[in-house]
Symmetry: C2
Subunit: 388 residues, 2 copies
């Protein structure tokens, strides 16, 4: 509490929220997505330019919280039927296989070894649902056919991506074992089905019952607290079985969609207020994470081709999947582009690869910047395509 | 994100919010203050009993955030005139001097050295405004004469307490210098006056102006973001000049009291939602911080007398101050009891003393538990006294 300026929680929060606000102001002036500018101001204050702040534990904690709350809020706007859908499964599956192959062979072409190439392929798979979902939310297009396909497929895609990661982590050992991978798949399916059922049928009703007791009259805040406990608990379970925490938060949101509050504090409103603060921090932190100083000309070439391959493979894979599901040409294209941002999932893959010692700094930086570039360009393109 | 269960943010947040919810349920059943039960369930899950969680960086960050947001919300219910008041100044001054003397001489009596005794005295001075303010908020009594005196005096008291701490920290060095102490006093006064003026006259109007632009129509969340930037910025400045961050957050709240929002997201509502989550974590964390295992029979005696002296000296000091200000016998007694909780301020003093090496574990544990005991008993007594 009494250590110098740049490490206090207050300084970091003031700065993060202030630049997020600046991002909003710029976005409002030039009629752009706020997310892109939040990431760009993040780059400006981070190690790449001004060096006012680094990706500290405190920033990481708030950013992580932001991603979880964001996906909970997005989940609250979805019905269970929108998520469990064979059509979206096909989009997700092809949209994972094609980018994986693209990343793997590009890395091989640039002369990287087998394990590094496997990790590059893995980093290409998982879609960052947070970015696209927020653009769709900002535009009020969450209820369109393409939006539902994007979110539904991105959720399955995230699950698939993390399965591929589990597989890649097995490759680093001497023997390739199939048992843990099958285990994760079974656990994931059980979690999704039971979580959705229990949440939708029991927890949703329990909140409504609690809302009718005198407890909600005396302590209206308990209703909001209870809903957030469910959100974080689902996020925890998801992480526990090897999925991303945001998948759990999303599932909790979907499960509580139909819940209506009369007496207590409305948790949907409360979660939105939490999201305003912490999702802003999440987007700014994506910019802070990128350090342009580590970039050399040689890596730049790999980065550029990697980014192009990342865009093309995801768009092609998802376009084909969407067309198989009989979606229109334009909607299939929107789905493909909406799935292109890699965001924090690719960054996590890169981080794990680096920590395991199977990829080096050059690949690490390339993956981080590739996922950032897809994150920056997709909202711009998507806004343009969905406008008319 | 992939390390074991007990260190993930999700696990800690789920657990903290779940036990906070349990605290509310118990409090609702036996018609008690929720805070007391939040602290008690905190003790239950902390190192003292179940050991499910410790006071990690993550818990500390959220708890700190909770205290700041709590005081911002409390500040939003106050007018500037309620805070800058000579009557409250007298209550605060006598309510700091008497407990300091009580703590100092008790420690001397128990045979502790000069510097240790100075720190015990210092830990006795500052009131934990968060506890009392929340009891008053829960009871809807924030607008009574006694409540205004308690909050007003506690703010001045916090400033005085931190000045005494600066003084004590000078004592640990070889020479006692008066310059830094005078400097902190001057800085504090300048900050309070300028902060209140600028916030009330300029920032409050700026928010209202921003609320009338098209920005608030397109991104209503910016209004809430802007208000929180101000809150954390004030908290940061307060910490920067050596005051407690919560003094700054409180001042920001007071400065923005008269601000009314029409188009954007209402920041008063938003801050309250943030408070529900993070103030709960703050109160649970106070229980987690206390570890009863370090307690021996010898220290128990010191602890018991210290707690009694802490109660009596604060009640007497503030009672006398309130009577000088011509308050009634009963109201003066309520003010005295309302000022008795030491909470996190005493804990910070203990922590600094331990880090400087001028107090040992026995005094440290005694101060922590003393401040916890005052925190637990005051809401019970205060509820009883303010009911009729």
């Amino acid at each position: 509490m009494f250590e110098g300026l740049p490490t206090t929680i207050e300084f970091q929060l003031s700065l993060l929220l202030f630049v997020a606000l600046a991002g909003y102001l710029i976005a409002s002036k030039i009629n752009q997505s706020a997310i892109v500018w939040e990431i760009l101001v993040g780059i400006a204050i981070g190690p790449s330019l001004l060096g006012l702040i680094t990706y500290t534990d405190c920033v990481e904690t708030f950013a992580h919280l932001g991603a979880v709350v964001l996906l909970f809020v997005v989940g609250l706007e979805f019905n269970i039927k929108d998520v469990f859908n064979v059509k979206y499964g096909i989009i997700a599956l092809i949209g994972v296989i094609v980018p994986w192959l693209g990343g793997y062979f590009l890395a091989e072409f640039f002369g990287y070894d087998f394990i590094s190439s496997v990790f590059v392929g893995t980093a290409m798979t998982a879609t960052s649902i947070a970015i696209t979902a927020n653009v769709l939310r900002e535009m009020g297009k969450l209820q369109t056919e393409a939006a539902k396909a994007i979110i539904g497929a991105a959720v399955i895609d995230d699950v698939l991506g993390l399965l591929v990661l589990s597989f890649s982590m097995q490759v680093t050992h001497d023997t390739i074992s199939i048992v843990p991978i099958v285990l994760v798949i079974i656990e994931a399916v059980i979690f999704m089905v039971i979580g959705a059922y229990v949440g939708h049928v029991y927890l949703s009703r329990l909140i409504e019952k609690l809302d009718a007791t005198k407890l909600a009259g005396r302590f209206p805040e308990t209703i909001f607290l209870f809903a957030m406990v469910i959100a974080f608990f689902y996020a925890m379970i998801a992480e526990l079985i090897g999925l991303s925490a945001i998948v759990g938060a999303f599932l909790a949101g979907v499960a509580l969609t139909s819940c209506t509050i009369k007496h207590g504090k409305n948790f949907k409103e409360g979660a939105e207020y939490l999201m305003i603060i912490f999702a802003s921090i999440f987007f700014v932190s994506l910019g802070i994470l990128a350090d342009f100083h580590t970039l050399t000309l040689q890596i730049l070439w790999f980065l550029i081709t990697l980014t192009i391959v990342a865009f093309l493979t995801k768009i092609i894979g998802c376009y084909v999947g969407a067309r198989i599901g009989r979606m229109s040409h334009k909607n299939s294209l929107i789905v493909g582009m909406g799935m292109a941002p890699r965001g924090e999932v690719a960054m996590i893959v890169a981080l794990i690869g680096l920590n395991l010692g199977v990829i080096q700094q050059d690949i690490y930086v390339s993956i981080i910047l590739m996922s950032l570039l897809t994150t920056i360009f997709v909202p711009i393109v998507l806004r343009h395509f969905m406008k008319d």
